[in-house]
């Protein structure tokens, strides 16, 4: 059997993958001998295992491709795929699957350990909410916002200011129940979004990204350095938990348990998803889609582009601020919580899950944040324990693999799939973030 050039390249890539894995899982180097890790992992018998592994991966992929070529039209899996597709297209299939997912989201946490429940709330739930907000900015309006986490910080600090007499060096003259801070924080974050967006949303694509990046940094550094206002890097301690006092209805969310918070957040997530799906279909949503696809054409069609970009920005900011309140009532925070990394993580979740797709971004949060959580334990069956410092390597690898094989995201939005398809045919650009490129006059 002779191999084509392409197959040879694939074989080389698979063997390379094996070598990479050998280095990743091998011994680490030391300060005195930085390269000893590489020597220890490559010039060792174990490297044979990894090369064999690469060979097996290649053979499997090669075999599968062969099988698929002959089977694409008539084979059993083709039939199965067709059945699944028609089942999903059937009327009522979507609501049913939504309900099923909701049930999973309600029931599964009951069976989890307390630490996992907390992670479900803090890492997955909150980031899903953040991603939903950023999705309006990036997915609907096509604006690249790299300082998104700043609004989250604003929400958290506003909560500390209004609810606690001791969390920050300063506090409001009257203290509020955290529930009443939601509208305040949302308003303050939206206002911050408008103040930032007003002068900067005239900028396009990359420029906007840089300005928002700067804004995020400014907010974080302000929080770190304003000792007398934000308590500096010591952060805010002792923000009271959520509690309800509505006549006969009295409920204090226990600080030590995560589940009540989680269910509250789940309710909010469902409401936000319903609201945003309405937004997407509304007049504003159509205007945002037009702006994303071609800003000049939108403006020439009578769409007030700047105003709608501001609206998208403010909606994203207020969602972020809202998440900040929820977060502050459960968890200690300091300026490091609101780093650039957090902004980028939210953006990654949006892109990974599927820009413009509500279920996609929530699922993106579940998969990416869930992955980070699961990697803390030894991997089941193999028993391989990922070192703490290595976790991000796997994280990155998952994202790279995903972007290569499924750039439209886990659950692509209808529009996003079309964009990718068009760009594959050379009829457009899938780079929707800077979609509305200006033709030079």
């Amino acid at each position: 059997m002779r191999l084509s050039v392409l197959e040879t390249k694939r074989l080389a890539a698979c063997l390379g993958l094996g070598l990479l894995l050998a280095v990743i899982t091998g011994p680490s180097g030391s300060q005195d001998h930085p390269s000893s890790g590489i020597r220890g992992s490559l010039l060792d018998v174990r490297v044979v295992d990894f090369l064999l592994f690469g060979l097996v991966v290649w053979a499997l992929a090669f075999g599968l491709r062969r099988a698929r070529q002959t089977e694409a039209v008539s084979g059993p899996t083709a039939q199965l795929r067709q059945t699944v597709r028609t089942a999903l297209d059937r009327r009522g299939a979507r609501p049913t699957s939504y309900l099923a997912m909701l049930l999973v989201a309600i029931l599964v946490p009951l069976a989890l350990a307390p630490a996992a429940q907390l992670s479900l709330f803090l890492d997955i739930g909150i980031y899903a909410l953040l991603a939903l907000g950023l999705n309006v900015v990036v997915g609907y309006a096509g604006l690249l916002d790299l300082g998104y986490i700043a609004f989250y910080a604003i929400g958290a600090y506003v909560t500390a200011y209004f609810t606690s007499a001791s969390a920050l060096p300063i506090h409001a003259p009257f203290l509020l129940n955290p529930f009443f801070v939601f509208p305040v924080a949302v308003a303050v974050a939206a206002l911050a979004g408008i103040i930032l967006g007003g002068p900067t949303l005239r900028l396009r694509g990359d420029y906007l990204a840089i300005v928002t990046l700067g804004f995020g940094e400014i907010v974080q550094i302000l929080a770190r350095n304003s000792d007398g206002v934000t308590n500096g890097s010591r952060g805010a301690f002792g923000v009271p938990g959520l509690s309800m006092h509505l006549g006969p209805l009295e409920y204090v969310f226990p600080r030590t348990k995560a589940l009540p918070y989680y269910y509250l957040l789940l309710t909010i997530l469902v409401l936000v998803m319903i609201a945003f799906s309405q937004l997407e279909r509304s007049r504003v949503g159509r205007a945002l889609a037009a702006i994303r696809e071609d800003e000049v054409a939108a403006e020439a069609s009578g769409v007030p582009t700047l105003r709608y970009k501001l609206v998208a920005f403010a909606i994203g900011a207020s969602t972020s601020g809202f998440a900040g309140v929820l977060f502050a009532t459960k968890q200690f925070f300091n300026p490091e919580t609101f780093s650039l990394q957090a902004s980028i993580l939210v953006l990654t979740i949006v892109i990974f899950g599927g820009m413009g797709s509500l279920f996609g971004v929530v699922l993106g949060a579940v998969v990416l944040q869930g992955l980070a959580y699961v990697l803390r334990d030894p991997i089941p069956f193999i028993g391989f324990q990922v070192a703490d410092a290595d976790r991000f390597i796997y994280f990155g690898a998952v994202i790279i693999i995903m972007m290569v094989f499924r750039p439209q995201g886990l659950v692509p939005s209808r529009r996003r799939s079309r964009e990718i398809k068009l760009s594959e045919q050379g009829l457009g650009h899938a780079d929707a973030i800077t979609g509305a490129s200006e033709v030079k006059p």
């Binding site: 159509r286 889609a289 037009a290 696809e293 000049v296 020439a300 069609s301 068009l422 457009g428 006059p441």
Partner: protein, 243 residues
């Protein structure tokens, strides 16, 4: 009073003066064409009229109202629709969705107007559900013009509608521009295809490096020796390509 009037318009890109005092008028019901070489300032003129660019001096008057500081989307709502250069349709929206965007400000006559556009462009009617980005160049140009018509404009600003299209399609487009004009829409047409444009237009202006170099009745310009040489390429073919 003219429907559209430009008075001593100056537009700068940074230090570069793209328009150095352009004055022109468009009367109600006319087709006026604006000719000129690349970089003469034709597109700049249209973009300034429609509010996408701000002039640093001069005045634009539409139906007696000054347009100088009105944003582009308001200008569009006033009945002055710009079809930008390079057929900018919304690539991931279907033909119907594209046309609906054209009626974004006022959906009262959506149905009637869409039928009218489909009447003008039967090619679009056949492909209603198809994405804008998958259409051919000619179809995209038709869609861009159709989308502008959805706003019931009084004046249509067309920026090089024939650019990059096959000769037969160019014929169709120009014919339809004539039909639109016959329906009472005033047209300001920027073109490099000078012969076609002058044959359709009643009057013409020639821009050269930011100033109006020549103006007059279209029939007179068609006969003018310099125009024939530089823009119709009757003596040297190369220059017509460049112009």
């Amino acid at each position: 009073m003219s429907l559209l009037e430009l008075d001593d318009l100056v537009v700068r890109y940074g230090a570069v003066e793209a328009l150095k005092g352009v004055s022109l008028t468009v009367e109600e019901g006319e087709i006026v064409t604006l000719l000129g070489a690349n970089g003469a300032g034709k597109t700049t003129t249209l973009r300034t009229i429609s509010g996408l660019l701000r002039p640093s001096r001069g005045a634009i008057t539409f139906d007696g109202q000054p347009l100088k500081n009105i944003p582009a989307h308001e200008v569009a709502a006033m009945g002055l629709r710009h079809v930008p250069e390079g057929r900018r349709v919304f690539p991931q929206m279907s033909i119907v969705e594209n046309l609906e965007m054209g009626a974004y400000r006022d959906r009262k006559h959506l149905k009637v107007d869409m039928e009218r556009v489909f009447g003008l462009f039967p090619r679009l009617a056949e492909r209603q559900k198809q994405d804008g980005g998958t259409l051919s160049g000619g179809e995209q140009q038709m869609l861009a013009i159709g989308r502008a018509l959805m706003g019931r404009p009084r004046v249509l600003l067309l920026d090089e509608p024939s650019m990059g299209l096959a000769p037969l399609v160019v014929q169709t487009i120009f014919q339809i521009i004539g039909e639109i004009n016959a329906d009472g829409v005033t047209v300001l047409l920027v073109e490099q295809n000078a012969a076609q444009a002058l044959r359709r237009a009643s009057r013409g202006y020639v821009l050269e490096t930011g100033t109006i170099a020549m103006q007059g009745e279209a029939s007179a310009l068609l006969q003018d020796d310099r125009i024939r040489q530089v823009y119709l390429g009757e003596s040297t073919g190369d220059e017509a390509q460049a112009g």
